[in-house]
Symmetry: C2
Subunit: 227 residues, 2 copies
DNA sequence: TAGATTGTTAATCGATTAACAATC
DNA sequence: TAGATTGTTAATCGATTAACAATC
């Protein structure tokens, strides 16, 4: 009986909100900001309805105390548990360019349970170089590496024009989860999960904002001229 | 009469979908894939309902032709126009680390109308170095630079612990839109727009997926043992 | 206790989908 | 023309908000 490989069940929006709560509460704890946090505090900072915060926290399994609020530590721990930050995953970086280097030297992944174990590239000029804690290995090493050690995630930081080829190599090596930072989509078999970070989506949001801002300013200037 | 500085009006989800359509249709055009595209084609590739595609395209001002579909070029152009990709914006990068370097050498921004004009850092060891097409300038240069040339966007690629200080400097220099790649939020006055790229949100999605996958596999193994 | 806060049920709102008419 | 496809109106669905009871 095959376990059906269920897709993400927490809706993206909810997951994103939980991460916002997590960051707020974790930072509050770090700053020594008290043991408890209320739905109203979170809601105000994040400009949202406090009922929604309570609903979300309930969904995440956090139990609050009337008149007191939620235990900050419990909020953090429950979200960590729900999202799997304490499970421990291992990932490799494919592509030892600047982006890959930034990833390799980033210390923040471990906070979310991800450990980077190796860095691969196909450029003979890069193989053997030391980037942060890793020596750049040739792509040819990947299959054996994936066989001998667990590779839960392959982080793709390669140029867009080779992303598809690299993704296929990664899949062939048995990796089933890809975090794609290249600027093109990659096609993979149905049993492989890809998360594509579209930098252009963020840029589109900024661009759209600026366009409207300019239009507003133009309108304001015209109004001023009329008065 | 002050123009009210309206927030993003296209909902994030819609904007994201439009970008997906854009990429699909633009790639199709590049590949010489025919002059027209139908809502069904887009919907199938993106695993969504075709009615929603038509609604979205109508909202973006694209007019289709029954029996034929949408003119691919018009889809691309309308979305570009709506999101402001042809308006032309200038941005500076703050933080000449690996991430900043990756940004500075990334050729893809121009496709969305963003031109990088300068690169700043406070590290004396980096000032004067050449990164891609830019010489690293000291942060002290920013106010004058922003006065003499247009800086629509400041791209923050600095460590999290200095992000707030840098953001304040950027705001003081008169920049009103910030694209924040640091791993901490920054507080800014109400008239400044910040888009924070939370890398941890993407990681959370992957982590949650992997956690559930492991649970599925465990369950499957138990089932197999029972049979 | 009184007041503050959670948690839940009901109401509303908005987004998605279904149905189908219009059209080339 | 017939069939394919758009575009729109109505129906459904789900997510958010409002109201309020429960509780410490």
């Amino acid at each position: 009986m095959a376990a059906n490989l269920t897709p993400l069940e927490l809706k993206h929006a909810l997951l994103e909100r939980l991460m916002h709560y997590y960051h707020f509460v974790a930072e509050k704890l770090d700053a020594g900001g008290g043991e408890h946090v209320t739905s109203t505090q979170i809601a105000e900072l994040l400009h949202m309805d406090d009922t929604l915060v309570r609903k979300d926290l309930a969904a995440a399994g956090v139990r609050g105390v009337p008149h007191v609020g939620y235990k900050a530590e419990e909020v953090v721990n429950r979200i960590r548990m729900l999202l799997g930050f304490d499970e421990g995953y291992q990932g490799v970086i494919i592509g030892a360019g600047r982006m890959g280097g930034a990833m390799a030297s980033y210390q923040g992944f471990s906070r979310y349970g991800l450990k980077i174990t190796a860095l691969f590239d196909n450029d003979p000029g890069k193989i053997g170089l030391i980037w942060g804690d890793y020596m750049v290995q040739p792509m040819g090493n990947l299959p054996l590496f994936a066989k001998n050690s667990t590779v839960d995630i392959a982080i793709l930081t390669v140029p867009g024009d080779v992303a598809q080829v690299v993704a296929s190599q990664v899949v062939a090596a048995g990796v089933r989860t890809i975090w794609n930072f290249a600027n093109t989509s990659v096609a993979v078999p149905a049993n492989v999960f890809v998360r594509h970070e579209h930098i252009s989506v963020g840029l589109a949001g900024l661009s759209y904002f600026l366009k409207r801002q300019r239009a507003d300013e133009r309108a304001a200037a015209e109004n001023a001229a009329e008065d």
